[in-house]
């Protein structure tokens, strides 16, 4: 075997701590190495060319590049060697940066270690053999979880490219939080006016299969080949018969159920459509409050329905969809800040009286007040006495940037939507006074800064830099005690209504969903991207992409951009019929396998199957283990478990590992 060793300086990264020329010299002495050189930047074109020329000139069988982590450039160098005819799996990386120069200071010791690492790699490469990637087919269908603006955007992008999309939404209607907003910043467009055309487009799109009032139950498989089980919750209304006439909702006698869409500002009926522009416009029966489900009586809806669409016997159904890519777009929730919630380490915000005083509300509740289709038809009215408030105080950063009673992160959108709320209030109540208590103004998007200045300079919203310590009620007014830290004076306002900009948090079932799909999440429940800078829409599970506020607090333009980005990742996947997988997977020696199946028990990817071995006459001989090349991730657990040493990891055989260990033992 003829091996070539190429030691990279990586500029100062390796060169400062490891004596690369000496490492190259010493490596030349290893038996089997015919060329050993060093280079400043091996990943560059000249560097790669050096390797390619050496392969041709010396007729090399294998290559060791001593450089940065394989994560960075293993692909680069393997492609380079492949371009001159060498099998890419004959190229190995010795990591002398992350595992050597970056963690040591002593040049002498680091160089010795680098030489050791190179020697190990050479011994391994001597026992490598040519491998070809495994090809698996790709199902060219996508699953989008979440029907808010992000999910809608992703679904439309993929569907318009000609591929089928299954869109799953847990609420009875798609639209998400954007459908609850009155106007959006910075243009003050009516939110539902810009959203509903998209919603209808999704509903009518021939390539989109819309499953509302449904949840993802189980996800199996891997990139290109997912099998997803979806639970369709019973609406108790037959979707094929219902025309959306709304008579059932009008006649339902239960009128005091808590209304989630209206954020508790008014009540709803037991059979309901969340909002008039809901898609699909088919009602749902809430079986926790419906009289029929509780006592067996009523059935008013059945009586008035002209199409006999009510079906109390509906059960939950499970649907299995096969898809190649999954996009998670499940959105956000708002931090509930009542007194310390049970079992919560967070203290809660008792000092602001939220939950105690009816006129202290949060951002989404204000959106419903301001919304033309809301409980007050767009007029700003106090929830307590329905009077128009003449003095409204808005408080930013409630629960955000707050390690003590909330979360340490910034929720990003509150500065903008508070300015918007203050402006909407002033536009509707001309003689009203609006005050905003803030710590900083974060308005970094396009036209955002100008938007906030408009609130201050044109709409006369008074911005006070400082936080509020306490709010209490005195004779129907709310005394807000704050401080202006710029002027250095206490500020006390007797407000008619207080709006709190509460923190954006992950949905309360986001952790459970992440575990179902098998993707990582952070301590707040936000889903994690692979790399925060360069790969923001991919999760670390191949084939699962992220879009929108499920990953972190974000506004609508960014969510839409991210949704399209995630869609494009799915489309890249669908661009080829076959997907290549790394061939470094496990393989069973069927002659020595005893069929104990310990390997199957420890395999985390369900990749081991039972295979029958028959003799030439078709008689059954024994069962052996068989590794499914499509599922195996090459973790090696089966290899470590097998009592008869019948499972080997291709590319990392026991012989190779022992050769590496022995190489270290050489003095």
């Amino acid at each position: 075997m003829k091996i070539g060793v190429f030691v990279c300086h990586c500029g100062e990264n390796i060169g400062k701590t490891v004596d690369c020329p000496r490492a190259a010299q010493e490596s030349a002495k290893i038996p089997g190495v015919v060329i050993s050189v060093d280079n400043k930047y091996t990943c560059s074109d000249p560097g790669q060319n050096m390797i390619k020329n050496a392969i041709k000139e010396y007729n090399l069988d294998g290559v060791v590049v001593a450089s940065c982590s394989p994560h960075m450039h293993e692909k680069t160098f393997r492609k380079a060697v492949a371009s001159v005819g060498m099998n890419p799996y004959m190229c190995e990386i010795a990591n002398i940066r992350e595992q050597c120069s970056w963690v040591h200071d002593d040049v002498e010791e680091a160089t010795k270690k680098a030489i050791d690492l190179i020697r190990i790699a050479v011994e391994k490469v001597k026992r490598n053999f040519a491998l070809t990637p495994i090809k698996v087919p790709v199902t060219k269908r996508a699953l989008v979880i979440g029907g808010g603006i992000s999910g809608i955007q992703s679904a439309l992008d993929i569907a318009n490219a000609g591929y089928e999309v299954v869109l799953v939404e847990k609420e009875p209607s798609i639209g998400g939080h954007m459908s609850q907003l009155s106007e959006t910043f910075p243009t003050l467009d009516c939110s539902q006016c810009i959203l509903t055309p998209r919603m209808v487009e999704v509903y009518q799109h021939p390539k989109i299969k819309l499953l509302t009032y449904s949840e993802v139950e189980k996800v199996e498989g891997f990139i290109g080949n997912f099998k997803v089980t979806i639970k369709k919750k019973p609406r108790y209304v037959d979707e094929t018969k219902c025309t959306g006439c709304g008579l059932c909702t009008q006649k339902c006698p239960i009128k005091k159920a808590p209304n989630e869409f209206e954020q508790g500002m008014i009540k709803r009926t037991a059979i309901y459509v969340p909002f008039p522009q809901a898609v699909p416009n088919i009602p749902v029966i809430d079986n926790t409050v419906c009289t029929y489900f509780r006592t067996g009586k009523c059935q008013m809806c059945v009586k008035v329905c002209g199409k006999e669409a009510i079906d109390f016997n509906q059960k939950e159904r499970f649907v299995v969809e096969e898809v190649g890519a999954i996009i998670v777009a499940t959105g956000y929730s708002l931090y509930k800040i009542d007194k310390k919630p049970k079992d919560s380490p967070i203290k809660g915000y008792g000092e602001y009286g939220y939950g105690m005083y009816p006129d202290v509300i949060d951002g989404l509740q204000f959106e419903r007040l301001a919304s033309a289709s809301g409980p007050t038809a767009g007029e700003i009215k106090r929830p307590s006495d329905k009077k128009e408030p003449k003095k409204v105080v808005f408080i930013q950063c409630v629960g955000s940037r707050d390690e003590s009673k909330g979360f340490s992160y910034c929720s990003k959108i509150c500065c903008m939507y508070t300015a918007k709320h203050a402006m909407l209030y002033k536009h509707k109540v001309h003689d009203g006074e609006a005050y905003v208590f803030y710590m900083d103004i974060r308005s970094g998007g396009k036209m955002y800064e100008e938007f906030v200045r408009r609130a201050i300079e044109e709409d006369d919203v008074k911005y006070i830099r400082g936080r509020v310590s306490r709010i209490y009620e005195d004779g129907g007014k709310y005394i807000v005690k704050g401080e202006d830290t710029i002027a250095g004076i206490p500020v006390e306002i007797d407000a008619d209504m207080v709006v709190l900009a509460t923190a954006i948090v992950a949905q309360n079932d986001s952790k459970k969903l992440a575990q179902t799909i098998g993707i990582p999440y952070d301590k707040y429940g936000f889903l994690n991207e692979v790399h925060p800078k360069l790969r923001p829409v991919e999760s670390s599970t191949a084939g699962v992409y992220l879009a929108g506020a499920c990953q972190a607090p974000r506004d609508i333009p960014e969510s839409v951009a991210m949704a399209s980005a995630a869609a494009s990742k799915a489309l890249v996947l669908f661009g080829s019929d076959m997907l290549e997988r790394e061939p470094t997977i496990a393989k069973v020696n069927e002659a020595t396998c005893a069929g104990c199946f310990y390997c199957q028990k420890v395999c985390a990817y369900n990749a081991i199957e039972k295979k029958e071995i028959k003799d030439r006459n078709g008689n059954f001989v024994k069962y052996v283990a068989y590794v499914n090349p499509g599922l195996c991730q090459g973790c090696g657990t089966c290899n470590a478990t097998c009592p008869s040493k019948s499972v080997e990891l291709i590319g990392y055989t026991d012989e190779q590992i022992f050769a590496e260990i022995n190489a270290l033992a050489i003095l």
Binding site: K339, K340, K347, G348, Y349, G350, E351, M356, Y472, E473, D474, G475, I479
Partner: protein, 293 residues
Amino acid sequence: MYTIGYYPGCSLTGSAKEFDKSLRKICDLLGIKLVEIEDWNCCGATSAHATNHLLSVSLPLLNIKKAYKQGITKILAPCAACYNRLVTAQYELTKNNLVKRELSEFLENDYNSIKVINIIEFFQEIIKEGILDKKVVSLKGLKVACYYGCLLLRPKEIVDFDDSEQPSSMEEIIKITDATPVDWNYKIECCGASHSIAHKDIVVDLIGKILGDAQKHFADIMVVACPMCHSNLDMRQLELRKNDGYKSIPIIYLTELIGLSLGLSPEELGINLHFIESRLVFEKYFSKVEVQL
């Protein structure tokens, strides 16, 4: 027999003796034994903690040491300031490196941490154990503003008692007397604390707001659990009385109120020692009112 270690503190043996008196009377009546810590010293509240951190921790720890030597396993400290210092000093000893280093002698053999409870927790316990389960006089119709002050509830992580913004533990205790707690806004607003001597005007200003809010919510009396709050709200209320048309609110210790509902007389409880008279409020609950309240 319910027994508990007892740390009266300097004010209960001085200007707040009604607090001590009423507590002891209740304990005698209910058969509770108070074991006073032998040779207890000042806990250093206010001045020690305001000027010297190590002093503020050493003085309370000395008391814990004495109690431990006596074999006491739980201490009742009725004065909210003493309670706060005794709990905080023990917390500091485990959490603050400087304290651990400088006061390492307290970590030697004859020291162990002891749970310290405040007067409200004391009542919660004896109610739970069934020791305090009846009343002799019903105070039905009496509207009470429960005033917590600062030191019973804060800092939340150290004291870990009730909700520091919307407390309700005292109101729950009051209910056994049939009295009605009112909902009001100044439950936890500071009374001015130790500035009573050096800055009387500030204290008068602050208590004016507290008493004013209680009045707005139609409270007949205010119940307190801290001797300093009592002094500020009671003695300094005399200044407010100089204003025309001012209606006084009697300031009653929690122990005094419970004592009244158990049938003890105002003089036995020390209510007659207050500056603001309470005869007019209580006379309808007692058939015989002899001594000036």
